[in-house]
């Protein structure tokens, strides 16, 4: 019967006796370890997900988790749970694995949608965002006035060109 990923438990049946395989382990060299000294090699990862887990942080708001692990980690950040349209996109993204564009591209799209949601939220809360201040214009004016002037000039030029293009005489 064909295995379906969503029905597969997270387990690794690596154990057992492999001595019937001719030559099993005869060239094993514990010193052949390019991870030294970053990794203090032991066999803990060969035991699978069997360590004694820390106490689990109560889940009081929605926490998305990768479909490459069986559960939410023992602790996690509780900031900014998914909500609105960006939240829907994030929930959709987490149906896909971490090596899939189906995971990351919807997340990037959600981030951009979230920016618009943030501006709407600000205005709803009576705060009109000062985008120039948020972009640190004071520092740029102080330390790089010529660069700022150049950016403003280029921006004005683009807006003027766009305006002229949109209002061109259609009969010409």
């Amino acid at each position: 019967m064909e295995k379906k990923i969503e029905n597969m438990p997270f387990e690794n049946n690596r154990g057992g006796d492999h001595s019937h395989i001719k030559g099993w382990g005869i060239d094993a060299d514990p010193k052949n370890d390019p991870t030294y000294p970053m990794k203090q090699r032991n066999n803990d990862e060969h035991k699978g997900y069997t360590w004694e887990r820390p106490p689990l942080q109560p889940i009081t708001s929605e926490v998305l988790h990768s479909n490459e692990r069986p559960n939410v980690t023992a602790v996690f950040g509780g900031t900014v749970p998914p909500q609105g349209l960006s939240g829907q996109l994030r929930r959709y993204a987490f149906q896909y694995g971490e090596s899939s564009y189906g995971h990351w591209l919807p997340l990037l799209l959600a981030d951009r949608v979230n920016v618009v949601e943030g501006i709407i939220d600000d205005i709803k809360n009576g705060h009109f965002p000062n985008i120039f201040a948020e972009r640190g214009i004071k520092a740029e004016l102080k330390h790089n006035p010529m660069g700022l002037a150049k950016k403003v000039a280029i921006g004005a030029l683009v807006v003027t060109a766009l305006f002229a293009f949109l209002n061109r005489d259609k009969d010409d």
């Binding site: 390019p34 970053m38 990862e45 990037l108 640190g136």
Partner: protein, 384 residues
């Protein structure tokens, strides 16, 4: 409390947010006394890291005073001044037990490839960061380390990330006595990697960057050669010419996703986001290292794909070693180095900026204004 608030690419501001609460018996609440902006925060700032949500607070390099501890915290106590490693580690999973504290499996539900990191998007766990007055610190028995008596807070805050990451970059290079080491990037981590390369016995250290003020700094601070890749022509050919045509023994990518130097990489990686940042430094590192050499990567890239010359990795027999720094593993040695005057990390701090001016601080650092190398944010309570 005051906290940095991300509003979208290149838009951040200071806002009032609720005080953090103990959410787990091994949590601590820390009142921040110093918090840096890291080069990798710029990937978030520029909107390049997926699942960076509006309203998040960044900041993974901070020190502070323990204000409150959970019921099961016994390694630190209220009132302790602590260094908080940027990676969140349980100390119990298979990876933590092997010293891979940057790869903990019990700290980030959102991605298995990345560990938990403070203030670094939901792709690394969705934790609030330290660019704030207070921060929740999980697994407080594992990561936080009491700042030794007499250590300057500016030195201590550099031990949360910059020093261990620079040191581990050199360590992963497997540097042998006499080796020629090339470091791409003279940001704080690149500068520290160049300095630390000598500790492993390098025979020659060469740094590339495009900012003259940073090149001058690293020449003096790390006592190394430093060249502007904008003026040397092809930096790979430059390395070959200066190494008997063989290439460097070890190359270190200390830049990551924001690299300049290749129009194609910049457009596809940084402007169009068709790859996970610009991989120019890694490209140069692979092509500059000798056959059988080692490339060490500490530059941060996003989670999708990058264009790198993988065929050359195979054909040259290159060993690539990379990881987030395992801060907890390295701290005892690095604290010794700072206390013995071997490393002087606070010398990298060029800007001390009030937390309230976080928008300007990001602009200064992102655009390398005012000869900025490392900015530190100081909350109001730490300025009294």
């Amino acid at each position: 409390m005051l906290a940095m608030n991300y509003r979208g690419p290149q838009r951040v501001r200071i806002d009032h947010k609720p005080l953090p609460q103990i959410q787990h018996p091994e949590d601590a609440i820390v009142r921040v006394t110093r918090s840096c902006i890291c080069g990798s925060d710029l990937h978030l700032y520029n909107g390049n890291v997926p699942d960076t949500r509006v309203g998040e607070t960044f900041g993974h390099e901070f020190v502070g005073v323990v204000e409150e501890v959970g019921a099961d915290v016994h390694k630190i106590k209220v009132g302790d001044n602590v260094i908080v490693p940027f990676n969140i580690a349980c100390g119990r999973c298979a990876f933590c037990k092997q010293g891979l504290y940057g790869n903990c499996h019990e700290a980030n539900p959102q991605a298995t490839a990345a560990g938990g990191i403070f203030g670094y998007s939901h792709t690394t766990g969705g934790y609030a960061g330290g660019q704030a007055e207070y921060v929740r610190v999980p697994y407080a028995n594992v990561g936080p380390t009491v700042i030794p008596e007499g250590m300057d807070l500016d030195d201590a805050v550099m031990l949360t990330d910059v020093v261990p990451t620079g040191y581990q970059a050199a360590e992963m290079g497997g540097i042998q006595k006499g080796d020629t080491v090339v470091v791409f990037g003279a940001g704080p981590v690149g500068i520290m990697a160049a300095r630390c390369a000598w500790l492993f016995g390098a025979g020659r250290v060469i740094v590339f960057d495009k900012e003259e003020y940073r090149l001058e700094f690293v020449r003096n601070y790390a006592q190394c050669e430093a060249y502007n890749f904008m003026s040397v022509g092809d930096p790979v050919v430059f390395v070959k010419r200066t190494t008997d045509s063989l290439g460097a023994d070890v190359c270190i990518d200390a830049v990551g996703a924001e690299a300049a130097g290749s129009t194609m990489q910049t457009i596809t990686g940084r402007k169009l986001l068709l790859q996970a940042g610009s991989a120019t430094a890694l490209h140069w590192a692979i092509n500059s290292v000798k056959k059988g050499g080692i490339v060490s990567i500490v530059g941060v890239y996003g989670p999708t794909d990058n264009l790198v010359p993988i065929g050359n990795v195979v054909n040259k027999g290159i060993t690539i070693r990379a990881n987030q720094a395992s801060v907890k593993r390295l701290l005892p040695r690095l604290i010794e180095h700072v206390q013995n005057g071997i490393l002087d990390p606070k010398a990298l701090i060029t800007h001390r900026i009030p937390l309230e001016e976080v928008s300007d601080a990001y602009r200064i650092f992102a655009d390398k204004l005012d000869n900025c190398i490392k900015p530190v944010l100081i909350p109001p309570s730490a300025r009294m």
